[in-house]
Amino acid sequence: MNAVLDPIAALGRAALGLIKQAGALALFALEALSHLVRPPFYWRIFFSSLIETGFFSLPVVALTALFSGAVIALQSYVGFGQYHVQSAIAGIVVLAVTRELGPVLAGLMVAGRVGAAMSAQIGTMRVTDQIDALTTLSTNPMKYLVTPRLLAGTLALPCLVLVADILGVMGGFTVSVAKLGFSPSTYITATLDSLKTMDVVVGLVKAAVFGFLIALLGCYNGYNSRGGAEGVGSATTAAVVGASILLLLFDYLLTDLFFSQ
């Protein structure tokens, strides 16, 4: 009897736990967002988070985008060669980069770099009483630590993705022209013909959602970390894993929303 019911009970407990976590995360996000319209707003924390998320993530995002664009061009050339449609490479590169690879790869890179850092920093503040110290200094920790980071993440990732889009296309262009023998003017014309404003805009909307999710998961896990160094380590792992999973889930949902017609 137990052999049948126990796995179902465990599944039920896991589902309830997941729903509870989702609810707690949503309430956390709502509270943080409510501070956007209630002064004061901590501009210094916002700008330092913006620089940390946007500027210092630029090298890793740029390199990822550049090589991704180059790899897509190479792979497409090999695959499309079988059907003699190599001319579609420029269109494939620009659509893949702007619609998918730019936002998703930049998001995953930022989740690993910035989401982990946010979680570790806030988690360390939690376990060393620094968050309690903020409260005793008449400063709301959500308003001070979380709200500026959420806004910074939401605004920084679209800027990064814009750079990633340009560099991804440049990567495809460089390989196609230097290695595969495409004419530069033909490649650029094909790129511009394939690209629609909507592709870039949807990529940037995705990036804003991903930036928000990365900052949210980083702050939430750090803020709720317990138990010293081990707790901070677990929170950091949970922040990166959770942000990566949510990012891919929302990528699907947003793609379905914008491109399924």
């Binding site: 920093q121 360390t124 503040m125 060393t128 009483d129 620094q130 309690d132 110290a133 409260t135 005793t136 200094l137 008449s138 400063t139």
Partner: protein, 267 residues
């Protein structure tokens, strides 16, 4: 026949209860702290001392009971009134809890700006606050040049001094000290205690300190109380701590293995 006027204690706690799951941490604590008194609360690890302070500070929500400051119930007051009442409290944490993303000077300046009341005019600018932070650092026996250092570059004793400077930044009329001498050598512990007494006297504050250190308790406090299993089992003058006449207090203050208090390694 007229009744004598009864003065309202600065802090009055009645029937305070707090449990974490099945573990009862505070079990009906009643405590009065008169204005200008330095109350020292002693008790073993897990007796509920820190939880008591955190309940007053609003860091933990009690399950039942009342906490009054100047006769006003903190737990039923509006959010803004709670903030206003708690704005008059300064806290020195056990590990100082300095913000490691800021310099020492910025830590103290943060306290000055955060605790500034709008009733006293516009808040000081960052530059002004940093200058005022230098004066506060001097007040706790540190050279103002320390303000440029990072908290991690300071010794434990210096961190406690900076934490004290930050705690007194808003001229609080209530001060809490969470094990202020833990981790310090006896001489540095005595120095910190001296600074605490000076600050409390200078500000005319009411203070609550929790400690395991009997020498520190007698230096800081003029009143004392002992918590055991979430209950206040004794209150009296701090000078009576070492000969209270209460078997539990005597066992604790003299550090005896034998007595009514038994060590529970696992509960």
């Amino acid at each position: 026949m007229s009744t004598p006027p009864v003065s309202t204690p600065k802090i009055r706690i009645r029937g305070l209860h707090k449990a974490f799951g099945s573990k009862i941490v505070l079990d009906g604590v009643d405590l009065d702290v008169e204005t200008g008194t330095s109350m020292v609360i002693i008790g073993g690890s897990g007796s509920g001392k820190s939880v008591l302070l955190r309940c007053i500070l609003g860091l933990i929500e009690p399950d039942a009971g009342t906490i009054e400051i100047d006769g006003e119930n903190l737990l039923t007051a509006s959010r803004s009134r709670q903030d206003a009442l708690r704005r008059q409290i300064g806290m020195l944490f056990q590990n100082a809890a300095l913000f490691d993303s800021m310099s020492v000077g910025e830590n103290v300046a943060f306290g000055i700006r955060a605790k500034h009341s709008d009733r006293n005019g516009p808040p000081p600018s960052r530059a002004q606050a940093l200058q005022m932070a230098g004066d506060l650092l001097k007040q706790v026996g540190l050279d103002p040049s320390v303000g440029d250092l990072s908290p991690s570059e300071l010794s434990g004793g210096m961190q406690k001094r900076v934490g004290l400077a930050r705690a007194i930044a808003g001229n609080p009329n209530i001060m809490f000290f969470d094990e202020p001498t833990t981790g310090l050598d006896p001489i540095m512990g005595a120095v910190i205690d001296g600074l605490i007494v000076d600050c409390v006297q200078k500000l005319g504050s009411t203070a609550i300190a929790i400690t395991h250190d009997m020498a520190s308790a007698q230096r800081i406090g003029n009143r004392a109380a002992m918590l055991y299993h979430g209950r206040l089992i004794w209150q009296g003058e701090a000078s009576e701590l070492m000969h209270s006449g209460n078997a539990m207090v005597d066992q604790f203050t003299h550090g005896r293995r034998e007595g009514p208090i038994t060590m529970e390694l696992r509960k």
